[in-house]
């Protein structure tokens, strides 16, 4: 798709607080530690693919996440977008879920896991002799895909994941969006799990957050 043959370095755009720019440029990104994020623990970028140009997605995101819902105010008033070049030259460490090949591969991993897990659950049910309550237990990860991504990272060395996702990007979407299931993606993102795959970075856009944006 967007990562065409020969296009092994891709541009990613990361929206952030303007105050973080110098630190990111000089010291590098700080790895997000929330394993609940879309593709697990990593540094996230909008990349070419679905929706607006990724630079605009990143700007909208930076403005939207500035808003603190509890304190009812912006945590920063100036945002920036950092462009980074990401080394995707080694196909064996890039999981590109915008391609059929990698999507099929991931689905096969998931199938294999679920088959094993189902068998283990059945064994749990039957040995030792289960009570009526135990008989009805079936365990499954609530974060199945994130867990499988972590296996691909830790056991098989994957360092980058690209995927089409649905994300509430703008302030408006975050304010008005419901928790109903969004079936179709609206953007393409890239999670980098290894800092060494980020080759260059520069600030490419900055601006003020208008107080009436939320």
């Amino acid at each position: 798709m967007h990562r065409m043959a020969g296009n092994e370095i891709i541009n990613g755009f990361h929206g952030t607080n303007f105050d973080n720019v110098d630190s990111i440029i000089n010291n590098g990104f700080v790895m997000n530690t929330s394993s609940k994020d879309w593709l697990g623990i990593g540094i996230y970028f909008f990349v070419d693919g679905l929706g607006d140009v990724p630079q605009e997605h990143a700007a909208e995101w930076a403005k939207a996440v500035a808003w603190d819902k509890i304190k009812k105010r912006h945590t920063y008033e100036r945002y920036a977008v950092i462009r980074a070049s990401i080394d995707c030259s080694d196909n064996e460490i890039v999981l590109d879920m915008t391609t059929k090949e990698d999507t099929d591969f991931f689905n096969e991993i998931r199938k294999k896991y679920l088959r094993q897990e189902t068998n283990r659950n059945r064994i749990r049910k039957s040995n030792p002799k289960p009570t009526d309550k135990e008989k009805r237990k079936q365990w499954r990860p609530t974060n199945l895909d994130i867990t499988l991504l972590k296996i691909l990272r830790r056991r098989y060395g994957y360092k980058i994941c690209i995927a089409n996702m649905f994300i509430k990007i703008s302030s408006e979407e975050r304010r008005n969006g419901s928790n109903t299931t969004q079936s179709f993606p609206n953007c393409t993102i890239c999670a980098v799990y290894d800092m060494s795959k980020i080759l260059e970075k520069e600030s490419c856009k900055e601006g003020d957050i208008k107080k009436n944006e939320l």
Binding site: I109, Q116, R136, R140, P141, I151, L152, Y156, G177
Partner: protein, 121 residues
């Protein structure tokens, strides 16, 4: 590592784990957060219980997945159905017919799980 080698290794890796180790490894090493899947009550036989048991089912979620798991000595087979609460009763009647055609013997357990994904917040 080639994808075909990963698939093989992953399968071998899982096979190498004992039943006790399996959930522990995925939980502790790979961050899996296990929770019990809400299930409909009881075990079902395709011919006589899918309809008669439905009166016991309490549904509080607007959307959910019904997962029918058939266990026998040939392994296990699953069927998934996405249904809204309103159409649940009719769906079960319809699915019973489908199940009767697909599987003609064996024991079924039916699991219900919420389809609503709050992650996008």
């Amino acid at each position: 590592m080639k994808k075909c080698d990963i698939l093989k290794d992953f399968e071998d890796f899982m096979e190498s784990l004992s039943d006790d180790e399996f959930f522990d490894v995925f939980e502790k090493e790979f961050g899996a957060v296990y929770e019990e899947i809400p299930q409909l009550e009881g075990e079902y036989n395709v011919d006589d219980t899918l309809i008669s048991k439905e009166g016991e089912i309490q549904i509080s979620r607007p959307m959910y997945t019904i997962e029918v798991l058939k266990s026998n000595d040939m392994g296990c087979q699953k069927m998934h159905f996405n249904r809204s609460a309103k159409t649940f009763t009719e769906s079960v009647v319809d699915e019973r017919k489908k199940l009767s055609n697909k599987f003609n013997e064996g024991e079924y357990s039916i699991h219900m799980s919420d389809n609503t994904d709050p992650k996008a917040a």
